[in-house]
């Protein structure tokens, strides 16, 4: 069974060949290319990875992601982005995904009412056409919703039970104004001591098409690696989603300097020490291979 890193980012310096947005986390001159990731993967016996688009939602902004998928078709699958205000999201999604290795799209918003008591018709949610397209084309939806959107999830998941859903980064839902970069340039998300997602995203465990990433620990923990204070969250996710619906990921490149890629490859056994060998194999790649339909390496 392959080991699969189920959520990483790669990007190059801004160039005419590979245009992208410039942000504080991805300044113009910074590059974290696929080859650097592959070096780390080789060193630590990781076979494959999911490249998640960063640097803009337009077709052009996906140039580097598409280049990597074409260059290493048996190593990577891709997740693209789609502008929420796109007049024809299905066209955008098809243009990016048809025969390219992009298997799905990441959403940060769900586009429904902020008040759960005002939730009415799911078809009125702004992302409904995206879910509709995902259902029709069998795309995966990669979700890292805002906390104000968390209550909208079950309505969409219920409406589209055939859509494969991956909740990113421990199923967390960042609050407005709670995102910063630390001194190493890594995302830091301020969260409350009590895990509020027990009452929202964790409740999605009932739906068999929903899986969760075990990743992003560095962004939520105030402790150093292996972030032992998050062991309880991992245990709850294991209890609720079960062994077959959890996927390990590193969130490369943000973890390269601290704690290091190699350290992240052993985090699951540290935070879930009672797993059997076969269960560990599932989380470290078996589930991603099956759920995301990774090709065999040639």
């Amino acid at each position: 069974m392959p080991s699969i890193d189920a959520h990483v980012h790669v990007f190059t310096k801004v160039s005419p060949e590979f245009p992208r947005e410039i942000t504080s986390i991805c300044p113009a001159e910074r590059e974290e290319p696929a080859e650097k990731l592959l070096d780390e993967m080789e060193k630590h016996q990781i076979d494959q990875a999911v490249l998640v688009q960063i640097g803009g939602t337009s077709i052009e902004h996906h140039s580097y992601l598409l280049h990597c998928l074409k260059s290493y078709p048996d190593r990577f699958l891709g997740i693209g982005l789609v502008p929420l205000d796109h007049p024809q999201p299905a066209e955008h999604m098809a243009e990016l995904a048809d025969g390219t290795g992009i298997i799905g799209f990441r959403l940060f918003e769900l586009g429904g009412p902020r008040d759960i008591f005002a939730t009415t018709d799911v078809r009125e949610f702004k992302t409904y056409p995206i879910w509709e397209c995902a259902a029709e084309k069998d795309y995966v939806l990669w979700l890292y919703p805002r906390s104000i959107d968390a209550h909208l999830l079950p309505y969409l998941v219920q409406a589209f039970p055939q859509v494969r859903v991956v909740l990113n980064h421990l199923g967390m839902t960042p609050g407005k104004g709670k995102f910063t970069l630390d001194e190493l340039g890594r995302p830091q998300i301020q969260v409350s001591g009590y895990n509020l997602n027990m009452h929202t995203t964790y409740r999605m465990a009932r739906f068999e098409n929903v899986t969760v990433h075990l990743s992003g620990q560095y962004a939520f923990s105030r402790e150093t690696y292996p972030y032992k204070n998050l062991a309880g969250w991992h245990g709850n996710l294991l209890n609720d989603f079960g062994i077959k619906r959890l996927m390990w990921a590193t969130d490369f490149p943000w973890i390269l300097e601290e704690p290091g890629y190699g350290e992240l490859t052993t985090i699951i056994e540290k935070l879930l020490p009672n797993l059997s060998e076969s269960e560990l194999v599932d989380i470290m790649g078996g589930n991603a291979k099956r759920f995301l339909r990774f090709p065999n390496r040639t």
């Binding site: 008040d115 759960i116 009452h199 409740r203």
Partner: protein, 238 residues
């Protein structure tokens, strides 16, 4: 003070719960409903702002500091319908930990899974859930696994579906019903498939242990606590 009957004491010991129908009734219930609705509406926007900031869950909300908002909430804490039972089960050494005046939205999934609140090593921890509106079957009613509070029960595991929990019992009820349960026992809120929010008040008590609640915790309502019994219940200075 109305002490529990021998049948009630046996049920409490054996099953881990008691139901008090019409615990709150008549004009008091009407006033409670009115006060609840007023403050729930007043506090809603603040809650939504907290949800947006990642500081509150999107699926339910509690009225903050309810005891300071209206004395009717204080009167629920030592309400004669169930206060005698609380005192009996804690050997007359009861403290209030706090109230949760809670509105739970209808949602495709219950906002919480099956769980116990405390372990067996905790001092006796009791909750009383009072329905403020009618809570029929399928609208977020309380669920409890009888006998799951006992040390030799289980092991239990949170199932994916609320109705998959072995041996559970649900407690639909009319407004004013109070359900007392040992929080060591596994409990939940069942799915709410209706279009009506569940409004309830959850009162949390414990058998006293030194220093558990400081005298400052409920100091803001000190003026309403004039009897020695009440001051003790609210951990206020004599």
């Amino acid at each position: 003070m109305i002490r529990p009957t021998s049948e009630q004491k046996t049920q409490w010991e054996q099953e881990g719960y008691l139901v008090f129908e019409n615990a709150i009734q008549g004009d008091q219930l009407k006033r409670l409903q009115s006060v609840f609705d007023y403050w729930a509406a007043e506090c809603k926007e603040e809650w939504l702002d907290k949800v947006e900031g990642g500081e509150a869950a999107a699926t339910f909300y509690d009225i903050p500091s309810p005891l300071e908002k209206d004395p009717i909430f204080i009167d629920l804490i030592d309400h004669p319908s169930y206060y005698g039972a609380l005192m009996e089960f804690t050997d007359d050494d009861l403290i209030l930990l706090g109230p949760q005046v809670r509105t739970v939205a209808p949602w495709p999934v219950s906002y919480t899974g099956w769980h116990p609140d405390v372990g067996q090593s905790n001092p006796l921890h009791i909750k009383v859930q009072i329905y403020v509106n009618d809570v029929p079957t399928g609208s977020g009613e309380f669920g409890f696994v009888p006998r799951s509070h006992k040390p030799n029960s289980g092991p239990y595991k949170r199932p994916l579906l609320q109705e998959s929990m072995p041996g559970y019992k649900t407690f639909p009820g009319k407004a004013g019903t109070a359900i007392m349960f040992n929080s060591c026992g596994w409990h939940t809120s069942m799915d709410n498939a209706s279009d009506v929010p569940r409004k309830s008040i959850i009162l949390i008590y414990e058998k006293r242990t030194p220093g558990r609640i400081g005298p400052e915790q409920f100091a803001a309502i000190s003026e309403y606590c004039t009897t020695p019994e009440r001051r003790k219940l609210f951990s206020l200075a004599d």
